[in-house]
Amino acid sequence: MSRTLTPSDRSAVLQQNRAGRGERFLRALRTPGGAVFVLLVALLAAIIAVNPSFGEPNSFIRFIGRTAPIAIAAIGQYFVIVSGEFDLSMGSVVTMQVITAGNLIGDDDAKVIPVLLLMFVLGAFIGLVNGLVTTLLRVPSFIVTLGMMLALLGLVLFWTGGAAQGNPADSFRQIGRGGIEGVPVLEVIPYPVIILAAVAALAFWLMRRPYGRTLIAAGDNPTAAALTGAPVWWIKTRAFMLSSLAATVSGILLVGYAGVHPSVGRGYEFTAITAVVLGGVVLGGGRGWVLSAAAGAFALESLFTLLNFVGVQSTWRDSVQGAIIIVAVAAAAKTWQRKRKGTAAPAQEVQPPNKAEQSEHHNGTTAR
């Protein structure tokens, strides 16, 4: 690259890609990953129009706290989906962690820390197994995680006899339930909000690190990624571990929020996949932004809240969710197609004709 481009050439190329902040922002909003934020804002505005008290800082922050577990699960699922795989075992991992916490911690405050550590180790281990079987044994991840889902849930139900039991110490439940009291304006900042912010920041940072870049490359074209020397198997395995760890965090929050029951976490994998897809992340890998996935979870949850306020029967929730994801993905498919056909051409026209080499390189970057 530096061989063919002098610094002045390079700045000329950069100039062409550079649009004003406002224009770049608007352009981003037109991608599926940006559109979800528009959808989210529209939904929130609609909720506030129907029920003005929702807009008060206090109830709004509680809404964020309520959505935190599913948003964290969506962030975890994002890593797996962007690498081109599926994680269907997520719901079972949530259930397993909830039951583990309920049974092992009991009333003993001293056990909270060791059991928490054990839960994280368990989560990482399940992700490791999912990842290694997918990458090294070459079993499709759909099947691996489906098997893991059946096996884990079966084990958990066998262990508990299928009934709710155990109640972890109050200090543990505070993680999902409590918050920092006495904050001005908000009154309370629930711990889940803080945890969500931390997880989101961590995920954002991770996706800008070499690991995140390689993960997207591996999802887009594993062969090409492998040929550039990336250890694709280990990158994808780590994505599975991140997913299971995120499910673990969701589980910890849900213990405080929903209590200990084997039905906690049921269907979480599909809700998380829905949220990720709603966030414009493409199934099959290689495209999408991690924070859009979290926004997808918020959009989904605010949609349910809106339906609730409008007075739609809760049984219709599924139908609306189904219709929304089909429409969202169909719209996203159209946008990606248009983008792929459209962007390269106008930039090429502005190129000085004598720099053919450079224009080629330029097209290569914008087409991505």
Partner: protein, 350 residues
């Protein structure tokens, strides 16, 4: 991988379908020993009949699912279609023999319509089959949950006979299922659409450039899949005597049928596989269930065994598939080593 390259070994000469039936035979052998230790006979007419009965519902759904997976899509809406068909059939029949035909036709018609929508969404709007059918399933599930609180309608005695009688130890329902399997095989191997299904599943772009209209096979596969799910719903309505809004989702037929198809050696990415293999996969599941019931295994542990068997079995094929591809450039060119990568790229798309 390179070690198994030797093409003389018996293992590499077997096709996936052969392996499926070897596994089924192994399950049979292990099962008969285990069941004998429990003091019962695996081969008693009663037991054979119960195994075959176990194959029929999952068999119907798995046949349809095979077509959809072959074309590179998935169908997660089958359990809800099954429930809906059972409700429509039982509702229309309302315990009157005269309405049997109308009930059957209406149930299958509605199922076909759902399949048509699935196919149109997948092929027309370019929505991934996973999302399209997940969404469709959710839409139907919302409708079912809103309008039906419990079992609904009643099937007349004449219709209930279908699920209850058999020729010797072979239930009528299994015979119907096998007939459907035969028809699906004819479709796949003897008709234009059947060949197009393999072509599109193998590589949609190449298929399109060869002049195949992709829409036709995709829609056909989805319609047949939904109709098969509807057949399963009819069978369940006939067995239970009523329609039920949860009968499909309780069975977990979406994921189990996909597991059975993949267990039968069909590539999840599409383009390669057979109905025969799927029937083998369904048979393995039914025998496992039967053995575990006879052994009185805890029902929760059954799921654990199922999960492990699915993954282990598929791991065996997954290793083979890489080996089994025809050589493209001589015997020891370095291009050979790129095969696993290409294969991975294909599976990622699943």
């Amino acid at each position: 991988m390179n070690k198994t390259r030797g093409d003389g070994s018996i293992f590499s000469r077997l096709s996936s379908t052969h392996i499926v039936y070897l596994v089924a035979l192994l399950t049979l052998a292990v099962g008969s020993v285990l069941v004998a230790t429990a003091g019962r006979s695996f081969f008693s007419p009663g037991n054979i009949s119960s195994i075959l009965t176990g194959t029929s519902v999952l068999g119907f759904i798995a046949i349809g699912q095979t077509l959809v997976i072959l074309i590179g899509s998935l169908d997660l809406s089958v359990p809800y279609v099954t429930s809906l068909a059972s409700l429509i059939a039982a509702g229309v029949m309302a315990n009157n023999s005269a309405n049997v035909l109308a009930g059957v036709l209406l149930a299958l018609g509605v199922s076909a319509l759902i399949g048509l929508f699935n196919g149109l969404i997948v092929s027309g709007l370019k929505v991934h089959g996973f999302i399209a059918t997940l969404g469709m399933g959710l839409i139907i599930s919302g409708y079912l949950a809103t309008n039906f609180k419990g079992s609904f309608g009643q099937t007349p005695f004449s219709f209930r006979l279908v699920g209850a009688t058999g020729l010797g130890p072979v239930p009528i329902s299994t015979l119907i299922m096998l007939a459907c399997a035969g028809l699906a095989m004819l479709l796949l191997h003897r008709t234009r659409v059947g060949h197009q299904i393999y072509a599109v599943g193998g590589n949609p772009n190449v298929a399109r450039m060869s002049g195949i209209r992709i829409q036709t096979p995709v829609i056909t596969a989805h319609v047949i899949c939904s109709v098969m799910a509807g057949m399963a719903g009819l069978l369940l309505a006939s067995r239970l005597g009523v329609g039920s809004p949860t009968v499909g989702s309780q069975g977990g037929y979406d994921l189990l049928s996909i597991a059975a198809v993949v267990l039968g050696g069909t590539l999840l990415a599409g383009g390669k596989g057979s109905i025969t293999g799927t029937l083998g996969g369904v048979l393995i599941f039914a025998m496992m269930d039967n053995i575990m019931s006879v052994m009185q295994v805890n029902p929760f542990l059954k799921d654990v065994v199922r999960g492990i068997v699915i993954v282990v079995a598929v791991a065996v094929y997954a290793r083979r598939r890489i080996v089994n591809r025809p050589l493209r450039f001589g015997h020891d060119g370095h291009s050979r080593q790129e095969m696993p990568g290409t294969e991975e790229a294909r599976e990622v798309r699943a």
